[in-house]
Chain length 204, copies 2
């Protein structure tokens, strides 16, 4: 048991790479250890660097948390927008692509959703987090409405704003449902449920 772990100095990396390392480690840490366990020192441990380095790239652990949230929102939206773009002409296909993107293995992973839930918590008590959340919601809904707008308008259908609000809720709810029990509600079932919900909501 000579677990001496000679604390070798980490390779000198470019600032951009190290920053990303720390941001990624934060997500992992949040998901695996929860907000209580996600301390600045623990994040650095996870990233394989000394605890002094955090301060070299971020003002403090809280700021690192915030930037992680910003980046996560940005990346997720970019991912979804990219997935929808090729089929933008066909609204039903676009909706499906949207669902597939949101529930892809890369994004609807326990790690990311776990972090996501922690961030929801922050939105209430912190104005800066709330601003990021609002921007994310706006952009996501704009994308959805842009798609839905191309659907054939049918008499007796729900007002678009309402239908989109409900669909957004379904997406969030299924994220949680998947998170709480990925065996009970795996990705493909989430996608199928979204498709069904969309059919119901946008058809008279």
């Amino acid at each position: 048991m000579t677990d001496v772990t000679i604390r070798r100095r980490a390779r000198r990396e470019s600032p951009l790479v190290r920053r990303k390392d720390l941001l990624d480690a934060t997500v992992t840490c949040l998901a695996r250890l929860g907000p209580r366990g996600t301390t600045g020192r623990e994040i650095c441990r996870q990233a394989g660097v000394s605890h002094g380095l955090l301060r070299h790239y971020f003002r403090n652990p809280d700021n690192l948390l915030f930037e992680t949230y910003e980046q996560l929102c940005d990346d997720l939206l970019a991912h979804v927008e990219l997935a929808v773009a090729p089929v933008a002409d066909d609204p039903w296909a676009a909706l499906h692509a949207f669902f597939v993107a949101v529930f892809s293995d890369d994004w609807a992973s326990p790690d990311i959703i776990g972090a996501w839930i922690v961030f929801w918590q922050q939105v209430r008590s912190r104005d800066d987090f709330a601003a990021v959340s609002d921007a994310f919601n706006l952009r996501q809904r704009a994308l959805l409405e842009r798609i839905v707008h191309r659907l054939p308008q049918q008499a007796g259908a729900l007002p678009i704003a309402d239908a989109v609000a409900i669909l957004s809720a379904v997406l969030d709810g299924l994220w949680i449902e998947f998170y709480l029990s990925d065996r009970r509600t795996p990705h493909d079932r989430c996608i199928a449920l979204c498709d069904q919900a969309a059919r119901r909501l946008f058809t008279a």
Copy 2:
């Protein structure tokens, strides 16, 4: 600045009362300070008792957190079941009563939802929390299915299990939506959206 705060000894209370004090303080604490700020000592501070008292009623802070979750689940379900019972004969009215109960001021409050979100986080990494969550989900869905089962069966309607799954997601999603911005999506709008979603999901 003579903020001496003479540490007066708290009134001697019955164990049941004190336990409830601590459980309530935990919810408040979780919502207001988040999981990071919810320490055993802080909960006691909030409850107006010394930090030694926690150990007198609970094994440790973690155990207090767990029992708070159990109680919250139990109380919420009891509240909803009670609200639904009087109109159990009329499934549409029962669904509406369900929604109203879930989005009542008492239960869909920022405090409670805030705590709720924290507990979601725990479900992943902790088996005991997961068990409580499963039991809650089972009981909630059973209640919903019992109601929906009385609806007139229409050809072309969704399979009941699917429709209920979607409706559950809507409920969770709207809880979050309300939590994130109670001005953007107040209680009455949540209820209205639920009603609309139900109509769409359970009618051919």
